[in-house]
Amino acid sequence: MVETYHLPALSGLREFRIAWIYDKDHQRAKALSSAAGVGKAIGSLEEAPETDLVLIAVPVGARRAVVGPVFARTWHAFCEKPFAATLRDHEDFVAAARRSRVRLGVGLVRRHYTSTQTARNLLAAGLLGPIVQVLAGEGSRVRRTGRSADWYQASAQESGGGVLFETGPHLIDQVFTICGVERYQIDRCRQQVWEGLEFETSVRGRFQLSGGTAVPFAFVVTRLHDTYNGIVVRCTNGELRIGLAPDATVEICDREGKVVTRIPPRITGGRSLFAALQAEWQEFAAGCARSVDFSDWDTGLLTTAFIDECYRSQVAALPDGTGTAQ
């Protein structure tokens, strides 16, 4: 994520200068610093020169060890998603940050996709009437990864659990953003698990939107099956279909799901993701300049809570390590 996305995005913004890069594997940090031509590689956080903002991109299972030293130096921290492994960790990090008077942000970049903002604005304007159902899916059967056995996603502990942790935060946060979800209730959560590693989560329940309306939803993230990849928000007068790519189109459909018109993004192709990343960083930096105070929205607390509840809803794993939890 850092090499492919954040470094190029930040390098393109004049208001940011990358001062240093730290990785527990110092050689990797040096290689990255050299390849990107930015900053310098440091051997430990303790020896790091002063800075304004820090990007924390270590796997979520290893985050706790890094967060302490960062807060102790009163550096504002922007964390790659998922923000924390559990809701408890999330709340602990938030409390620690507030005690240290540092601001936190989370890399839920889809908030800044044009499609997300377009859909949110359309729904807020009530053009299609009130929302009556929300459906969201993402994933496909995993075919090949090109990764060896020590890949962090192959470890339940390092990865945080599985596909819900890896993919779920983006999708569920995008749905929350588009629909203005304030609360949720999970009626049913089903997971397919092998030896602690979760390969599929399907959830049904209800969202409470601003204004108090309760709306049924269904959500699936999967590595087992090819699924519909997108968000569908059904309203009384039609529906919106939002793709998941950074340059996705928003489709406005009639009540039968037939496309009436499409709203394309402002920026297409690879530039669209970088535009969203840059907007994300600029928003975070502007927030840090204004105040150290931050809200639950800024850290994606509702998203972490949702994912945490899905995992906690699992029954105990079967003796051979498998589990289909309901």
């Binding site: 059967r141 990864t145 089903r190 590693l197 269904a218």
Partner: protein, 392 residues
Amino acid sequence: MTATQVAIVGAGGQVGPYLLKYLSTDQRMQLRGICRNAVTAGPLRIAGFDIRCGTIADPSSAESLLADCEVIVNCAAASGMATGAQARQQDEAVVRSLARLPGARRIIHFSSVGVYGTCIDVRRNTFGQPRPDWSYGREKLHLEGYLLREFKASRHEAIILRMGHVYGAGQWVSRRVLDTHRDPQRLLPFGGRLSSNAVHVRNVAAAIRGLAADWARPGIYNVADSPPSSWREVFDWNTEAIGARPVESMSDPDSRRWSEYHRRSAARSLASRLGSELVSWVRSQPRGFITAVPAVKALGVEVLEGLRLERLERRAQMQMQRLKIGGALAADATLTPEAYLFSDGAPGPQLAYRGERGDEEVRALADWYARFSGPEAIWRWGISDLPLEGVS
């Protein structure tokens, strides 16, 4: 009679799961899948297959993973590498490890009809001298030669299969057809009369089963549907399975035009293509330059206004309009149909086997399509167990 121990290397890939599922039903074989990590292994383990994790590229690991395997199907291909060189090294390492396995094994290595190029033209491409015009085909051909050299010193026997375009539930050709069948610009060249070089994934499994039970003479074979399918048959099989209308046919004149275009492109050297594309780029430059440097246009307008030559100014405005319209039309240009739809049949020996594509595969495709094509399945998801893609 003891069962033949068969390993599928790259079991988590495009075809691997189907091979596991289909071959596991044959009691003459005992199947084992090999995956590199727990993420690709997980879905197969959940489906109940015997999967081992490890890297075949490491000789000692390969020996351990494949210790008791008499027949090894290598359908692995390097992916996710940062560079092509790394991918080649990975693929070669796998082949080297297989070559160095102790004993006498039977190796079935998956190559591709891609070695003959993006658009197979039998006037240029022969079985013995394929001339790939793309990096995928070149790498596949390179690996074939590498394998044959590495295996010379071993006691193993190798059969190289140049796989045709695989279709069926979970396969890319079917996904392509199903994703685009409603697009009026997607027309089937020559009405689909051309031989497809396509092979249903069930037929791939049937071919492998046939080899495992009755080993063929070591060498290289093409693998396509048995009996061979035309593109019309392949497309219609897919659209009928989901209850959709057949894909419309492209007219013969248009088909011939595109066929010549693709064959010319496939026959051109990289240097020739570079030159031609540079010429196209230069020709596009007045529009591109003015778009990129709008001050040029502003300067031109100022100069013309200063000269007060109305006729010249109007001619310049007309030219600007033409450039704008030209840009808009270029953006709306007809889609280029895929080169492989215009291919000749792959030259050389075809692997003989009994094809087995049937009703079960139609149902599997329909179920698969229902899950990815629309959101309705999301509401019903999790109510009951779903089959792994292509694996019922």
